[in-house]
Symmetry: C2
């Protein structure tokens, strides 16, 4: 057996690292007419879901197109002794367990988060005689197996280049530890076009991420083009071209679902809504009020007048219109960074509160109750930020099935869990991709970003999802995500900010503790991170280098 | 007069801000058949240098292609009242002062650094009747004026889009405060292809940077393809494709010179040379010795056996071969981070020192004396890092005309100036572009980069080149540069790491203290930085956004 480089626990360079792996050292090559087939006895044979069929075509094409070479000083030549006849892999056979009409990948991509772990399970076998097989209970599981299969192969280079794997026989049993492995992208502060989003979804799929938390609107621009509310984007988008039209969103969602990715939209409210004032000034308190630092976390100030019944009614209509555009079982209503000064100094709000005899919290509770009712009436579960549970007292409107994202500090997870809510880890001290680009508010001399330095992939990878979480509460941890708030990011640097860092988050929440426990070792993961980075580059993604190329070729030489 | 937004000192959004500017508020548009001509009385009329002629063509084409719009909520529509007939600019006339055969841009790009300031001087006039004129003493000065002229214009948008300037009449008298305004790029740790370098030079020219400090070799790879030493790149480059062949280098140098940029090469020695061992193992002490942390600042360890006469002779040959490839009056020989343990534990070096009765410092002095003699014999001045003056005692070999770059700490500038050397500011605490990407040496949990957080453009801009510099020493400050060490940078993120940050450095060292004194105000500069960033993006450069687009359109709203 070839030993893995440095302290790798597997010589496979598959990201995320599969749960259970055995490998050998036989080199197999992919036949020039390699193809992917369905097992004759499988229910897929008679009725294959369209998205799985497309995934099969895509996998075959991707394998033949691959030009990524093994990262070692000899670029893999050590496996390819001249004159050796390597056994060829002619076919990869897919089998779906069970009977009944197979469900599509897209169908299972939007299962409730707890059901995703089982649905993503697959087994992969690659024998030394070249026979190859993936088995799963779902199309989604087969899709995950196809993704792993791609990462087993390296390009030989040379004039008759071919694809080979140096690690046969390979046996993999794999499933994620967590059902929520997400990227959040904020598309309000700066604009990202459809092409950039689709490419991001492709790269997420490569590393088996399964949730795109789409923070679609905020105070800076309103790119959400809803058929029933055209004026919102009409006056609130950066330009007529910088709008996601409703049909286009549905296309993006379908594209994501077919790759096993749930698109969870978020319309953050009642804060983070200032731009609504461009089309509906009467709905917003304190629009562009200055000094902004008193009335908002960042300019422009302005929040929904959520104490006002008319505003609540309008918001319910908006939500009813938005919710149906998305296939996700979840809908994000935000709830972070509510600025109370902005509300209390708003004359109309003050008058309303007085006439109703309400506190601001009571008004928020009423607003939440009514808006969440729209989400629930559409058979969806609300997703909120931690303040909705920790900051405004115990609001009865926030029902216990609500998903709560932790963002301010990872220590806050325990507090939310103590109240019995399910959580998603997204804390700024580990998972904020936007940090470390320098302060962006104008000031003499600048400074570091507000939440401290750049979060390296190693830092993200060192996170323990169960830190301070008692045994009985662990089942409430749904998973985690890295978040890209877009103050200093647009299409020019989306990929360099996101990749390959997010792959560390993908692996952390797919693999879980593994046999080694938490924290996972970033030193052990380094060779895989290099490999997946260069695989991304081979696919045209601007994933940044993690070390000098000299070091990338020599795992284990460049540690502290 | 329209007042400039926020606290801008000029409404012009030209980067670097010109030294003396007056503006008005007449809108002029560029004629559809706008052209650039030579003044009839100018010596250029009979003999125009080829590179100036090309710059004229390029400027005309760039002006017509421009799609960059004015950054304001109305995107410049406030200047373009419908139905108004804007006077057209038909021609821009260039005049070269003096008689005699005009020199090329390239000629003056490689003047001694003290002579550059006068050579880059120009005057620009744009009258309300549409007449436009640039006057200078050199082709290089005219070139700088052409660059400014481009930045005066914005695209109108609309179906019959045109270029206009809202600020006529405009009078500019401009020249740089410092003759060294550089970007350093390390092309050894990771590879950058020719196309990426040429594009970088174009962007440098846009902001009037005038030195490309090319740290071409280091310990990780040897991409320098010299006709006389083919084995160095043959065995030391990352691949046969990742080599700058000698002819290709000359093409790159010419391309730079024609844009007013001096390419100052650097072969860092005697440290930072480990990779030479791949082709000449006998020249290198301690190649790949571990633990690297004992023998080098980063892997792989290995340094020239500089005490050895044969090594010195070989190095002289190498320098003679390399020096002639470049047109610069300067040649960098490095001299930073010499690891003494690596040398003292090298048996051959120890034996040599003993037999000669030399200390390591004496050996270094001899090596420097002899290698610098080659540089000087070719009529070039050596450029070294600060350790050559501060760390090894006063080496007589380091002559007082040597240029010394400050890198470890900006406070070290005063120490080097005290010894009477000319300096270039390149200190890590202000000007290291690579910082803030997280630690890159493998370690559990990762960490921040070695020299602290990301250096924001505001931080760079806040630098005072004369801090702690007594009046009499100021003439020894040649200028400054930002440095991009490439541990975590290659072509995927070159532009996002470099742009637009380096524009702040360009402006700082072009403008000098200005009327406002040091430190320059980054708040005042913000609107220009936004503008030049979007201008870069319009030219296909992945310069990163500095704020939400909402803020970029509204200068002054988003300050602390």
């Amino acid at each position: 057996m070839r030993s893995p480089a440095s302290n790798e626990t597997t010589p496979l360079r598959v990201v995320p690292r599969p749960t259970r792996v055995t490998t050998g050292e036989t080199v197999l090559r992919l036949s020039g007419d390699f193809s992917i087939d369905i097992d004759n006895s499988s229910s897929l044979k008679s009725s294959i879901p369209r998205d799985l069929e497309q995934a099969i075509h895509h996998t075959t094409a991707t394998l033949h197109k691959n030009r990524h070479r093994y990262l070692s000083p000899q670029r893999g030549a050590e496996f390819l002794i001249s004159g050796t006849q390597h056994t060829e892999i002619q076919k990869l056979i897919l089998s779906l367990n069970g009977n009944g009409k197979p469900r599509s990948i897209a169908h299972d991509a939007v299962l409730p988060v707890e059901d995703r772990v089982a649905a993503e399970r697959y087994e992969l076998e690659l024998a030394t005689d070249g026979s190859a097989h993936i088995e799963a209970d779902t199309s989604l599981g087969l899709y995950r197996g196809l993704t792993t299969f791609q990462q087993l192969f390296f390009y030989s280079g040379g004039k008759d280049g071919f694809q080979y794997t140096p690690h046969a026989p390979i046996n993999i049993e794999d499933q994620p530890a967590f059902g929520w492995r997400a990227v959040l992208l904020d598309t309000s502060r700066n604009w990202f076009g459809e092409e950039a989003l689709l490419k991001m979804l492709d790269t997420m799929a490569l590393i088996k991420m399964n949730v795109f938390h789409w923070h679609i609107t905020d105070s800076n621009s309103w790119p959400l083009g809803l058929d029933d509310f055209p004026e919102l984007a009409g006056k609130g988008a950066y330009s007529p071209e910088e709008v996601y039209q409703q049909k286009q969103i549905q296309k993006i969602v379908l594209y994501a679902n077919a790759r096993g990715i749930d698109v969870v939209p978020e319309i953050d409210m009642p804060g983070h809504t200032a731009i609504i004032a461009e089309s509906h000034p009467e709905l917003i308190a304190g629009y562009q009020r200055t000094p902004f630092v008193k009335y908002a976390h960042q300019p422009p100030a302005g929040q929904l007048r959520f104490a006002d019944d008319k505003v609540t009614e309008w918001t319910k209509g908006l939500l009813q219109s938005a919710v149906t555009v998305f296939s996700s079982p979840y809908f994000g209503t935000g709830g972070d960074e509510l600025n109370t000064t902005c509300m209390m100094e708003d004359e109309e709000t003050a008058t309303t509160l007085k006439s109703k005899g309400w506190t601001l919290e009571k008004a928020l509770d009423n607003f939440t109750e009514q808006t969440h009712a729209v989400v629930r009436a559409n058979k969806k579960t609300p997703l909120v930020w931690q303040e909705m549970v920790l900051t405004h007292g115990d609001l009865p409107s926030v029902k216990k099935d609500t998903l709560v994202s932790i963002w301010i500090d990872s220590k806050d997870a325990a507090k939310v869990l103590a109240k019995g809510f399910r959580i998603v880890h997204a804390a700024a001290d580990y998972f904020y991709l936007d940090q470390g680009q320098g302060g962006w508010l104008g000031e003499e001399g600048g400074g570091d970003s507000w939440q401290g330095p750049y979060k390296s992939w190693q830092k993200m990878y060192s996170f323990d999802p169960y830190k301070d979480v008692e045994e009985g509460k662990r089942k409430l941890v749904m998973g985690g995500q890295c978040s890209l708030w877009a103050e200093q990011t647009d299409e020019t640097n989306l990929e360099t900010v996101l990749w390959p860092r997010a792959a560390a988050v993908a692996e952390l929440f797919w693999t879980g503790a593994g046999a080694e426990g938490y924290p996972r070792s970033s030193v052990e993961a380094f060779p895989r991170m290099h490999d997946v980075r260069f695989r991304m580059v081979d696919r045209g993604v601007r994933a940044i280098p993690l070390q000098p190329y000299w070091s990338a070729l020599r795992p284990g030489t460049t540690n502290k």
